[in-house]
């Protein structure tokens, strides 16, 4: 067991190294002068020089690389060009809305998508199946921000039962938090629901033909138990995998959703950084989100061993 965990962790390290090298090279191999593009057309030579210095571009490339890796390992993601604040501080300040949004959205997606997929597989070819599959194509095709504005139009403007935009911390009361987080969370969930429901359905279809499902039915178990205890458990691994790989969709979705609903989270930080061409902030966010993505998928990999005793170290 321990050696399985160690091997998985070791396998994640090269991926992180490639991410770091790729992000390092991105700034250096971009054709043209990134400093000039970041500074804009009106920049003075002094401003250009200052941007080059703060990006670390005025040293030989191997020195740059060593400094960069050293700073990364000590948890330093650089300094914002605009506010001169460490990027880690900026991220920390904006973490709460994003974490709340992501956690609520993931929970919602799983709670909605898994039963949808199970029902679709159970009534394969029937109207539930068609409905679920149509909903899932739509979920893939309608962009996050369009869904967001449709939900705002229906629930906040036409029905007037939810606030249009904004964020309240959960520590300031569950009620105000919930009524402001529910629309953004639903918006962010749609594509994730589409993805998980599709995979649940496909995986369940594979499993429902197995002998043990027939046995469970033959001994008179309630259909609910057959589906959720016998079949779903065996169908769980592909579903978990897609939850992990779909996490990347969620990260892009967060940026867009926060911008639609005006949430003061990491997404807003990204948009502000785009408008100000604050490259160190964008770079820091890339490194952080890639790290989270790798970590989430590592955890999911490890959970296989607990879920399925057939997978052995």
């Amino acid at each position: 067991m321990l050696s399985y965990i160690m091997r998985r962790i070791l396998a994640a390290i090269p991926v992180m190294c490639v991410v770091a090298i790729f992000v390092f090279l991105l700034l250096r191999i971009t054709p043209g002068d990134p400093a000039a593009i970041i500074a804009g057309d009106m920049a003075t030579p002094e401003q250009l020089e200052r941007i080059r210095a703060s990006l670390g571009l005025n040293q030989p490339i191997h020195v740059q690389f060593i400094n960069w890796v050293g700073q990364l390992l000590s948890g330093n993601l650089g300094t914002s060009l605009i506010s001169q604040t460490p990027v880690t501080t900026l991220i920390y300040q904006r973490l709460e809305p994003t974490l709340s949004l992501a956690l609520v959205a993931i929970t919602l997606s799983i709670l909605i998508a898994v039963p949808m997929g199970v029902m679709a597989a159970w009534r394969h070819g029937g109207w539930i199946d068609n409905l679920v599959m149509t909903a899932s194509v739509l979920g893939f095709s309608v962009p996050v921000f369009v869904i967001g504005y449709i939900l705002i139009q229906i629930f906040a403007i036409n029905l007037g039962i939810l606030p249009v935009q904004g964020f309240r911390s959960i520590f300031a009361g569950v009620g105000p938090f919930a009524e402001r987080i529910i629309l953004p969370a639903l918006t962010l969930s749609t594509i994730y629901i589409a993805l998980i429901a599709r995979m649940t359905r496909a995986s369940m279809l594979d499993v429902l033909g197995e002998d043990y499902v027939r046995t469970a039915r033959a001994k008179g178990l309630a259909e609910r138990l057959v589906l959720f205890r016998h079949a779903l458990r065996n169908a769980a691994i592909p579903i978990l995998t897609v939850i992990g790989t779909g996490f990347a969709l969620m990260i892009s979705g967060v940026v867009v959703t926060e911008s639609v609903f005006n949430l003061p989270g990491l997404g807003r930080l990204t948009v502000d950084a785009i408008l100000a061409r604050d490259y160190p902030v964008i770079q820091g966010l890339i490194l952080l989100t890639s790290f989270i993505y790798v970590a989430v998928n590592l955890l999911i990999d490890l959970s296989y061993a607990f879920l399925d005793p057939r997978i052995r170290y």
Binding site: V15, F22, V23, A248
Partner: protein, 294 residues
Amino acid sequence: MAIHLKDETEQIARWRIPQLRLRRSLIVPLAAGLCLVSMVIMAIFAPFLAPHDPLAMLPAERLKPASDIFPLGTDAYGRDLLSRIIYGARVSLIVGIGATLISVAIGLPLGLLAGFFRILDAILMRIMDGIMAIPSVLLAIAIVTLSGVSIWTVMIAITIPEVPRLVRLVRSVVLSAREEPYVEAAISVGSSMPKIMWRHLMPNTLAPLIVQGTYICANAILTEAILSFLGAGLGTETPSWGNVIAEGRVYFQINPGLIFWPGLFLSLCILSVNLIGDKARDMLDPRLAKRSRL
């Protein structure tokens, strides 16, 4: 004679049923294809179809509702919304098709090489794993921020995150195809590497490439809209569905059409490409279609 006739009609009826079924399964992809063709026509003939100049600002006509002169109303600068949407199709379609072609042009040779040469495979796949771990929209934003905004940088920025999946796909096809007897035969008669790859391995990748290509196209159109929406895409002097929506956000409560109309065109376009991709997959890979239809 009468009996004979009845037999014949029965025969006709029996013969027709499967044909009807075939037609029904084609309705959705045909509708999608029609939708897409009309968008392409709209993009190509935009100057003739658009009722107004998409850039002409008429301060007196700001935020007007739909009328005979402005079929979908006007935006905050008094520009005609319908004309901007018609011109916006150009950006989406160019980026969608361009990103697909570029990613195939990069991904296909890399995948062929990775599938064929073991050592290269190990290195290349680690690099691809790393790029796949970077959230695609953020990576695209970084590339656009560093190299400035133009239709080319936007296209490249959208392409790079798509390449790893394509390389993986081509590689997996090559890995199974290279065990086939005809490849072994080609090796044993001394065919050159490029010839084996091009003549024997590449054709195997065509069907999965067509399917994957449609998904890349749909995703590229979506990502372009997201970039424009976030302010990392083309400026509003080049109307695109994404930046029309972005501009409409502030006035959303005054005129929701500023978001819904471009949103509808964008969604329909992506939906059509996705539906055609699903149909292509069903037709090209019946084995997979049975398992996970749609």
